[in-house]
C-alpha cells in the first residue's frame, strides 16, 4: 500500500495537499495577530480551494470538466479584488489607530 501510495499519484494525493494547505491557512487566519498576516492565511486557503477544484476538474468523471477551471478563474479574480480592498482597509485602520493588530481593534468592547 505504501509503495503504491508513493509510486503513482492520483486524486487522493492532490486532495491531501489541498486539505493540508487549507488547514495551514486556517491556522494562520485564526491565529495571527497582524491583520496582514490574517490576509495571508486567507489567500492560502483560497489557493487550497483552487487546487482542490482543479483536481476534481482533472480527475473526476464529468461531461463538462471545464467547469472546474472556470471556477478557479473566477476565484483568482475575486481574490485579487479581495486583497486590494483588505489591504486598503488595513492601511486606513493603521492611519486611524496606529496599529493593525486585530487584538487591539476593539472599540466596541466596553
Amino acid at each position: 500500500m505504501t509503495t503504491l501510495f508513493l509510486a503513482s499519484v492520483g486524486i487522493e494525493h492532490f486532495l491531501t495537499v489541498g486539505a493540508l494547505l487549507f488547514c495551514l491557512g486556517l491556522m494562520i487566519a485564526l491565529g495571527k495577530r497582524n491583520a496582514i498576516g490574517v490576509l495571508m492565511g486567507v489567500e492560502l486557503m483560497l489557493n487550497a480551494v483552487n487546487l482542490t477544484l482543479l483536481t476534481f476538474s482533472r480527475f473526476s468523471e464529468s461531461d463538462r470538466p471545464i467547469a472546474g477551471q472556470t471556477f478557479v478563474a473566477f476565484i483568482i479574480t475575486v481574490a485579487a479584488a479581495e486583497a486590494a480592498v483588505a489591504l486598503a482597509l488595513a492601511m486606513s485602520v493603521y492611519r486611524n489607530r496606529e496599529t493593525v493588530d486585530v487584538d487591539q481593534i476593539n472599540l466596541l468592547k466596553s
Binding site: V9, G10, L20, L21, L24, M27, S57, A90, M91, Y94
Partner: protein
C-alpha cells in the same frame, strides 16, 4: 498519473508548498512570511501545471506573485512599526486545534471515499477555458469585471487620506 517524472515532480512540489505554508505560520518577521507565501503560491502553480491547467498556472503566477504579493509588500511598508511582528493571538491554540481537527476529517474523507476517477487527462486547452468563459459563464464573467471595478474604486476611497480628499475638492 504514471511515470517517474510527474510523480517526482508532485512530491517535490508538495513538499515545497507545504513547507512554505508552514514557514508563513512560524516565521516571526512579516517580510519573511510574505516571501514564504510567494514560494507557496509558486508551488501551487506547479501543481496546476501537473493538473494540466497551464493557463491557470501562469495566471496564478502573474496575479498572485506579480500583483497580490506586491500589494501585501506595499501594505507592510506603508504601515511601519505596527506590522513588522507576525506573532499569534491568545486564541491561537484553539484555532490550531480546530484546524487540526478539520484536517483529520478531511484526510479521513479523502481516503475513505471511493472516487470515481478517469486516468486520462481531459486535455483542456486554454481555448476551451476562454470559450467557456464567454459562452456558458458569460454572466459571472461580466459580474466579475463589475466587481473588479467596484473593488478598485473602493480601495482608492479607503486608502485616501482626508488631506488628499480636501486637495482634490479644491482642484
Amino acid at each position: 498519473m504514471e511515470g517517474s517524472g510527474p510523480v517526482i515532480a508532485f512530491w517535490m512540489l508538495a513538499a515545497v508548498t507545504l513547507v512554505a505554508a508552514g514557514g508563513v505560520l512560524v516565521s516571526r518577521n512579516l517580510l519573511h512570511a510574505v516571501l514564504f507565501l510567494i514560494l507557496a503560491f509558486i508551488g501551487v502553480a506547479g501543481h496546476f501545471v501537473l493538473l494540466s491547467a497551464e493557463f491557470l498556472a501562469m495566471a496564478q503566477v502573474i496575479i498572485y506573485v506579480g500583483a497580490i504579493s506586491v500589494l501585501v509588500l506595499f501594505a507592510i511598508l506603508l504601515t511601519p512599526r505596527a506590522s513588522r511582528d507576525n506573532g499569534e493571538t491568545k486564541a491561537f491554540p484553539f484555532g490550531a486545534l480546530l484546524a487540526i481537527a478539520l484536517a483529520a476529517v478531511f484526510l479521513f474523507v479523502i481516503n475513505d471515499t471511493d472516487w470515481r476517477t478517469v486516468s486520462e487527462s481531459p486535455g483542456l486547452a486554454p481555448e476551451a477555458l476562454g470559450e467557456a468563459l464567454l459562452t456558458t459563464w458569460v454572466l459571472p464573467f461580466e459580474i466579475a469585471s463589475v466587481l473588479l471595478t467596484a473593488a478598485l474604486v473602493g480601495s482608492i476611497m479607503l486608502a485616501r487620506t482626508a488631506e488628499e480628499e480636501a486637495e482634490d475638492a479644491l482642484a
